[in-house]
């Protein structure tokens, strides 16, 4: 009985009170509520920072587990992951993230790799556009035409030499896209409100790490 209260009732009561407090702080102009909300936000930041540490420990445990199992080739990547992880962690903690040592390994390893990953998607993107963007139906045709207009209007030379492309792009973006995306945003907003109420009133309990209703 007491375990059930600790594991289910207490977290639900805390969720309910915190939810009410944050809603109250947003809609009411009560200084004491503001102070309490600010205090909770500070907790939120600390928990987020703690979660990052927890994530690091989790990565180490999973990688060690993979290395111990030695299934497939995954364990080799796990070894590499641990080497790089500890290289960055030791340098960062030992010399500080603003140190020349940390900057050196960041600028020579992470930065070039990261910078390569993003443009590399362009190759796959172009190949995918070329092979899949086909006018098979009327809707598909509209999709291809709109894509072509946006593509050309985003090329600075085309928008400068063919000003009507800019007008056309602006109309598509400001009228068609904005109208459609606003509908999506409203849907998301209403869904978020519903989810918020379900969490506050204890109808949704998956955030507590267990199945709904258990």
């Amino acid at each position: 009985m007491s375990i059930k209260i600790i594991r289910k009732t207490v977290p639900l009561v805390i969720t309910f009170l915190v939810g009410l407090l944050m809603i109250g702080q947003w809609f009411l102009n009560v200084p004491s509520l503001d102070e309490l909300a600010t205090f909770l936000q500070q907790w939120g930041i600390l928990i987020a920072a703690f979660a990052m540490g927890l994530g690091s420990v989790n990565i180490i445990i999973r990688s060690v587990h993979r290395i111990q199992k030695r299934e497939g080739t995954d364990w080799l990547y796990a070894i590499w992951l641990l080497i790089v992880f500890f290289l960055f962690a030791i340098t960062g903690i030992g010399f500080g993230p603003a140190s020349s040592q940390y900057k050196y390994i960041f600028n020579t390893i992470l930065q070039p790799l990261s910078a390569t990953m993003y443009p590399a998607t362009l190759f796959f993107l172009v190949s995918a556009i070329y092979r899949t963007f086909k006018i098979r139906t009327v809707e598909g045709g509209l999709f291809v035409i709109v894509s072509a207009i946006i593509l050309l209007a985003n090329a600075p030379i085309m928008s400068a030499s063919l000003p009507f492309l800019v007008t056309l792009k602006s109309w598509i973006m400001d009228v068609e896209l904005t109208a459609a995306y606003r509908a999506i945003l409203l849907g998301i907003g209403l869904g978020a409100i519903m989810l918020g109420f379900r969490i506050i009133f204890g109808l949704e309990t998956t955030h507590l790490g267990r199945e709904e209703g258990t």
Binding site: G44, I45, A48, Y118, F123, N154, I157, M173
Partner: protein, 280 residues
């Protein structure tokens, strides 16, 4: 004869991947080696940002969220430099901070290029600009920064308590921020929610081209005042500053690569339509 024509249309749809990739590489390398200085038109979103920056008065405080990573550095860094240049020109005070883990290193790399501007303007660290470092917590952290920046940061990036930094002695919460700008590859909606919707702080966004369509409705509604669209937006800002930099150098690449993608789109569809017509 028909069979031969058919094979041409099929071939048009199946150009080897290697040729595609080689042409993409050429479309990026050639303009970089031989820049052509192709013309650039200014979008209303960029113009709106520029106009808003020009309303800054000496002493006004602007928050700049360095939230990009190495992947988007090619356009976020020039965008940040162009925006900061205009803010410094207006005499505004700059508070840099990050809600992304790579932020601190991105700030340092940006500062290496921007330091001469600070030096020329006589800007002193701690008095005219400051870097607070990284704070975890994403939207919760943004809410805290808006309501009371000291709940998110007690010291700056170099370990100095905020109360000992002259600039920060007058900066406490949303009421002290003239405007904010976020340079991000993620979803910028949280900045709109926490700064503009709740406190009506002027909010600007510099995001990647892929995110622009999702954020445009907020610009149309006035919740975002200025919006820089990826590399093109950064280049437009440099043109407005009359200080062409790294982003302008890349516009030729954008022009060539976009046109190349369009040509492939066209070739693929011509082949597909003609093949279907021949089949009938």
């Amino acid at each position: 004869m028909a069979g031969k024509q058919d094979s041409i249309w099929i071939k048009l749809q199946h150009i080897p991947r290697e040729i595609l990739y080689i042409l993409i590489i050429l479309s990026m390398i050639v303009p970089l080696l031989r820049p052509m200085g192709l013309p650039i038109t200014i979008s209303p979103q960029t113009e709106s940002l520029f106009d808003s920056l020009n309303t800054l008065e000496p002493g006004d405080v602007m928050l700049e969220f360095i939230d990009w990573s190495a992947g988007s550095m090619s356009f976020h860094e020039p965008g940040c430099i162009a925006v900061s240049f205009q803010a410094v020109k207006q005499g505004a005070k700059l508070v840099f901070l990050s809600s992304a883990t790579e932020g601190p290193l991105m700030y340092e790399l940006m500062l290496e290029k921007f330091q001469p501007v600070f030096d020329e303007a006589g800007y002193v660290y701690g008095e005219d600009y400051v870097y607070l470092g990284y704070v975890a917590g994403q939207e919760t952290a943004l809410a805290a920064i808006a309501s009371d920046i000291r709940t998110a940061f007690s010291i700056d990036y170099y370990g100095t308590p905020l109360d000992e930094i002259p600039l920060m002695q007058t900066v406490h919460n949303y009421a002290d921020y003239s405007m904010i700008i976020s340079y991000t590859m993620g979803s910028p909606e949280s900045f709109v929610r926490q700064f503009n919707t709740q406190y009506n702080v002027i909010t600007h966004i510099h995001c990647g081209e892929m995110m622009t369509p999702t954020i445009l409705p907020f610009w149309a509604s006035g919740q975002i005042t200025g919006l820089l669209n990826g590399g093109v937006g950064a280049a437009e800002m440099e043109v407005l500053n009359k200080r062409p930099g790294d982003a302008v150098k890349l516009t030729d690449v954008y022009s060539f690569s976009n046109i190349l993608v369009f040509i492939f789109l066209l070739i693929g569809n011509v082949g597909f339509i003609m093949q279907r017509r021949m089949g009938k």
